[in-house]
Symmetry: C2
Subunit: 508 residues, 2 copies
């Protein structure tokens, strides 16, 4: 499909009121719900939120209540969640977060957090299920007089926030070149009962426009900034993450060989983080894995690396969450990436319709997995939220092949990530086909719960915990799902009591 050329029309941003960040923050009222552009720190506003945090602190110091609802694409950088949570300025937060300050507020019950599948956020916002939105706060690389907003390094749910919010504040961030126009594909489905198909049939298909179109009268003002994305780096691969990556690559290569994956391969979705980076590295290095495309959520450094090496031919994502140096290198090389990189709204990047149609191979990371293949993606010991479910459910439920990865142990070997029953369930056995640790690969397709249990113990659990898990399996014999409620959380309770899952006393 031909790409729209970057426009040479001059930016008309100057026609909108120019605001300082404090002036913009002053427009926002206690009790408002705000929709922020961005997805991860990429594309997330940074100036208005920091000014808003200062304003909240001042109001609180004066004895006035000041809190807002904060809705974003996914997580943010410290300038949104970090600053606003530190100021205790967030009453309600959805759909995802990864900030230590905010996490503490959520786990202490001070901030209401609603965890949701990221593909569903935009439609639930449009359906009115999350109430009225007063403000959309949008980081842009350009805005024209007739209301074309060109985003920066992410799309997230910005098109929907612009649609539903009463007014829009633009952060025009000169750190991103106006030549980014053309890297975004903005498409919002019509709502039922009049919705049609999503016109995306391959990762490179374009469905919409390179900009968000808004009524210019909705734009309350423009705040000029020049701020880099607040992305964090990744850790170097460890022997464990490298082995997980190799296990995934070897498994996919063997599926290819036996014809269970089409010879042209399938588009890949990969979660975020160090394991995901290691998996991509191993896929890139594996001689039997052909060139492939990504249809994913977050585009990380490792994707760009494999694009440069030619192993990844095209990457469709919702955000360019790369390190500052990698982003700078892309921006230096924009023409080369223009035909190979596309950023979409999360409603499209994660849409069940497209995920199932394209037949993605999805690879996501678990906090813990149980003997039946259920996955915990969100909670520690069933109580405390880590980040949120994110897009993992959108992809894993609808993938051609759904893979979950995790190291078999955590906390220096004190914790087995393979447990009798997950302490919080985010993905049920029905959505999980392949479980991979550094120990090996359990292919759960077509296996009953008893078969899965033995497979996961012998293939995925750490040898140090296999005897304990075998003991549980023995104690639980019988029934379709061999499970003993009295022992299901015994390893977790041992951890709570002793700081380690080792040496469990089972209820016999």
């Amino acid at each position: 499909m031909p790409l729209p050329c970057p426009t040479s029309a001059p930016s008309a941003s100057a026609q909108f009121p120019v605001l300082t960040a404090p002036e913009a923050a002053a427009l926002i009222q206690h009790g408002d719900t705000l929709g922020f552009s961005g997805f991860t720190p990429a594309g997330t506003p940074k100036a208005v939120s920091r000014a808003l945090a200062l304003r909240a602190q001042a109001e609180h110091a004066a004895g006035n209540p000041f809190q807002v609802g904060v809705v974003t694409g996914a997580s943010t950088g410290p300038s949104v969640d970090g600053a606003l949570a530190a100021a205790n300025a967030i009453s309600f937060r959805t759909p995802y977060q990864s900030d230590p300050n905010l996490r503490q507020r959520i786990n202490s019950g001070e901030t209401h957090f609603f965890d949701m599948h990221l593909s569903m956020l935009p439609q639930n916002v449009r359906y009115g299920f999350l109430g009225k939105f007063s403000w959309a706060i949008i980081e842009a690389s350009d805005v024209t007089a007739d209301g074309q907003i060109v985003l920066t390094s992410a799309v997230g749910a910005a098109p929907t926030f612009c649609r539903v919010a009463d007014r829009i504040i633009i952060e025009l961030n000169r750190h991103h070149p106006a030549a980014l126009r053309g890297f975004h594909d903005i498409y919002e489905p019509v709502d039922p009962p009049h919705r049609s198909f999503i016109p995306v049939f391959s990762p490179s298909d374009r469905a919409g426009t390179p900009y968000i179109r808004v009524d210019p009268k909705k734009i309350a003002g423009v705040v000029f900034t020049d701020l880099p994305d607040e992305t964090a780096g990744f850790e170097d691969p460890t022997p464990v993450t490298t082995q997980i990556g190799q296990n995934v690559a070897n498994f996919l290569a063997s599926e290819l060989r036996r014809g269970a994956i089409p010879p042209s391969f399938l588009p890949l979705q990969s979660g975020v983080g160090n394991i995901a980076n290691a998996v991509l590295g191993s896929l890139g290095a594996h001689p039997d894995i052909p060139k492939f495309s990504m249809y994913t959520e977050v585009i990380q450094d490792s994707v760009i690396e494999l694009m440069r090496s030619g192993k990844i031919e095209f990457a469709s994502g919702v955000s360019l969450t790369v390190s500052p140096t990698v982003l700078a290198s892309i921006y230096k090389d924009l023409p080369a990436f223009r035909s190979r990189l596309l950023l979409r709204p999360q409603e499209i990047s994660n849409h069940p319709e497209v995920v199932r149609r394209l037949g993605l191979i999805s690879i996501n990371t678990a906090i813990e997995a149980d003997l039946f293949g259920n996955i915990n993606s969100t909670h520690i010991l069933g109580r405390n939220l880590v980040n949120g479910i994110g897009g993992s459910g959108d992809f894993t439920r609808n993938a051609f092949l759904s893979i979950f990865t995790c190291p078999s142990t955590a906390k220096g070997g004190k914790i087995s990530t393979i447990v009798p029953l997950v302490s919080h369930m985010d993905h049920s056995e029905h959505s999980v086909q392949i479980l991979v640790t550094e120990q090996g690969v359990a292919d759960l397709r077509g296996k009953d719960p008893c078969e899965r249990m033995h497979l996961i113990i012998e293939k995925c659990a750490h040898p140090d915990f296999r005897d304990e898990l075998r003991r549980y399996a023995k104690l639980s014999e019988g029934g379709h799902t061999p499970q003993t409620l009295a022992n299901a959380f015994a390893m977790h309770q041992q951890l709570l009591r002793t700081g380690s899952m080792r040496g469990v006393t089972w209820n016999e």
Copy 2:
């Protein structure tokens, strides 16, 4: 869309070898995997499977092993699961069942059962994830010389079984009129990476042909039968199911009034059983609920009743699982139903793409629900399978509005269906928006786990169990999800010990 006219061409079934059921059963080998047409008892073969059960018994009596893999659309009548399980002739079974004999074999570990989302069965069969299929055994109302198979009262996964199986046995059941031609819409998506959109944009849209087209050389023979569907009746509504129905209807009417559901209403999906019948009855009787369409899995008696009264304008489903008298009345009145009733493959009736596009209101039944909105659809006390997850996950995950219903108590009040933590999780909190019991309605949208907990206790739990659940809530305070692993299953363990969930001793 114009409907294809029923053909007047004479049936060419006589050109295929005519087999007796035992002759057909004799073609099947130990170790074969068989794909049966049908969905529920509707449309399921009855003669070959009974003959196969007799053959298995004879082989077992002679000391020979004889077991087959049985794959169907969903559950079957007693002639498949019942007869074959009684003969211990099933080694592997997927994707759903509801037969007492088979359930006992599964829960004793004698038969391997793989529970799965029903929309995924056909594609996983085509992808080869369930191995090689030797035989498709298909109940038909007609078959032509050039290989057009017209099905009977269900579609299920028959098109896919016909595609992948080496050979096909037809049960030509004269109980169903050949004039059924035109009631089925057979459409199978192409597999990734070449899949296009599913061309269904309203419940009445046709995407395919009124018959399955096969290479006639694959048809090994035709067994003539004249057997009614082995459908069971439903129980009359009780005060509890009636109240659940009224709560659902009142809730939907209030959502309509406040504009959270489009004024034209949305297509409805409804699960199977007595509660579903009561809900449909209440929706039919509610003056503020406009005429609507069904885009559902199983079409039950109550749907036909509301079609006759005019409240339901169109019904798309995968099976006509109605009582024999209702089926006879439809067959007497075929021209009137021809433009208002359509049977599709389960891959299309349950397809996430279509469910999300149409914006279904989904209503499904839970075995138990927990304080965070997680749902158990499949297991008793976490161990013993009841039926299976069926299509509930396909619909609830992708619906515009996802509702789960259950009576607040079971076993004469000894069991609270509202528990601290479900003993088996099939649908996570992320997929469940509205929980309804006869006590009331909990709207969980946008609520954090702590808010959901209090809402579910006060709105949905039975008053007799509220104090116990409040005690659990008090004991579990803190964290994003107020949950205490040491007490999460205390009510279930009390039930195991005493036969009742009352009078729990909590770990304080």
